[in-house]
Amino acid sequence: MMLGKTAGGLFWMFRYLERAENTARLLEAGWRIALTRSGAAPGEWQSVIATAGMTSAYLAEHETYDAAQVIDFLLRGKSNPSSVLNSLASARSNARTVRTALSSEVWEATNECWMEAKSILSRPISERNLHDTLAKIRFRSAVVRGALHGTMLRNDIFSFARLGTFIERSDNTARILDVKYYVLLPSASLVGTMIDNAQWETILRSVSAEQSYHWLNGGQTSPLGIADFLILDRRMPRSLSFCCLKIADNLAQLEQEYDSRKECHDMSDEICNRMFGSTIETIFEGGLHEFLSKSIADMGQLATLIEADYRFYR
């Protein structure tokens, strides 16, 4: 048993940490493409903003997708609630409210992560320093995750933290795929231009999966293969399937610990059944975009049910 507010605070603390990391990854991928294929850069930055779900907020301030502006907006944009800095500040603020539920190592790691980010991001980051900056932030948030795994009891506290992580991650992976789904369609692959290859590479990089994908596929890159990897491969820690499984596991933990089954358990089962009943071929037949849209909507609904079932707010 714990306070509903605390459960909600843990859930959001880890959603925000995950979000900060995901935004950092997106930026890294965009920066990489811009470096290697300068012709594709503005379009790439545009889709980075779209993937972050920030198109209208960005356009309210800027007219063009200029590298320095996009980088600044995603790292430290005041009006961007999902900027790395704002996400880490929200994570830390949630951590403060749930401090009694965290081991001191997790709290201190979170606080240090925020302090370092706040200090590095106190002024604009040049493209030259972007890589180092992102590496530092990734390192700090890895320390938080390490402390979570190494020092926290495996009880309801841990489950709510993990639920936040995987709901955010699933949402992020689905968005990355959805923004680029057209380059994965069979018709696009026929074109087989350099640009498309670059797009595939970005998708993989945005989820830090280019290396593991190549390990598994021996250098053979295909749109179907990439989609299969990011949607259905349960070995891949950022795939939609992996997230589904983890969410189901953590909800099962709660069901067992509280000896009570809730609506969110049924919803989660439904999502899992749909996922595991699919092959990449059936997904493409039914429409990749439709599949991804439904995944995003389902996760949103699941989050709402978890929030109500465990009394985060009421």
Binding site: M1, M2, L3, R99, W107, N111, R311
Partner: protein, 476 residues
Amino acid sequence: MIRKPETFDEMLADPHTARSPYSAYFNWFGSENLKHLRRKSADAEAFFRRIGITFNVYGQDEADERLIPFDIVPRIIAADEWTRLERGTEQRVRAINAFLHDIYHRQEIIRAGRIPREIIAGNAAYLPEMIGVDPPGGVYTHVVGVDLVRTGENDFFVLEDNARTPSGVSYMLENRETMLQMFPELFTQLRVRPVSRYPQLLRRSLADCAPPGFSGGKPTVAVLTPGIHNSAYFEHSFLADQMGAELVESQDLRIENGRVVMRTTEGYHPIDVLYRRVDDEYLDPLTFNPESLLGVPGIMDVYRAGNITIANAPGTGIADDKALYSYMPEIVEFYTGESAILKNVPTWRCSEADSLAYVLENLKDLVVKEVHGSGGYGMLVGPAASKKELAAFEAKLRARPGNYIAQPTLALSTVPILTKSGLAPRHVDLRPFVLVSPDRIDMTPGGLTRVALKKGSLVVNSSQGGGTKDTWVLEG
């Protein structure tokens, strides 16, 4: 009135000799390198930031979290000095609880003519809602922080009794943690009494005061905080964490079947003991300030029905009210039958015409305090004030004399702090923390030493640029 005599320094008997409690430390200090110590001092600050021991200053940007400056030179108290303080404080705290019971029941002390009726009747800190109420376990002040000052080898005074929701204990604990990490070798040389049991003792004291019919097994204890933006939020979460209690806010609570319950992941769960860090005024909008969003509507009814323990009990503020302070020696004597072991600072009540005349005449030598003020706000330190400030305060005094008390400017003792050029004396006070159970009083050996970091300043409040020191009570 005589201007302040020579200041008593707790470390140095003369520039080259330490007083006995400090002799081992002084020798150690002499063999240390100043630069190295200054670096340690900077390390301590980084340590505090990492842990997040910060406070928000009222009136500042909410996002602006500040550190209370920490000085690495400990304040050291000998075993026999401590024994006396302990006896005196315990006596005073017992008297305060007896006084509170009396004042909310038969009011014998008023009948006996020892304190005037008006001082109670017209006082905002006196809550008529508490008349006839018996707090579970008979305890009113579960936690008291008694502010002590020293002016000489054997002269300790009580400056103020904090009987509402005294804060600062987290600094006592974290200051010690910091010192243990930075100077482990010192703790092997000097035998310093530990303070670390405080959270467990607090938990036990609170649990021992649970209502008689509590839900069974272990009583459920929760800490009520006004929220993350409160200046003492760190302390609230720290204590809840250390005690293994829930940290709740108004939105987590409601009344159900005559109990105060908290919203959990498994539904509503009753609370037996609420250690509230919310002032009386905001505790229950149905009984007190109707605008309050920090309290629990209806909690006073639950309390009066005996179904929850509120710590400290509502209405304890009457015991530490500045208008009552000057009667404390009477109060101690009335309830304990002994004269007070700890002295009061001589106090002029400006409500009395003779006193007012004296105060106005000697304003530049006195400290004048607002009766209902706290935290060093609304206070005049005569010797440090400009002519203009004195004149402005004189006008305030004449307009509302009943609002003020005045005290001589005490020559507060000094303990050195570490500065760029080495040790330099600064004025200090001491707030030990006292826990009251139905059958016992525990006083943690040590407390919070507050230090005025500005040379010559007598104001030690953290909101006014004061810092803290670790306080060492030596084993006998």
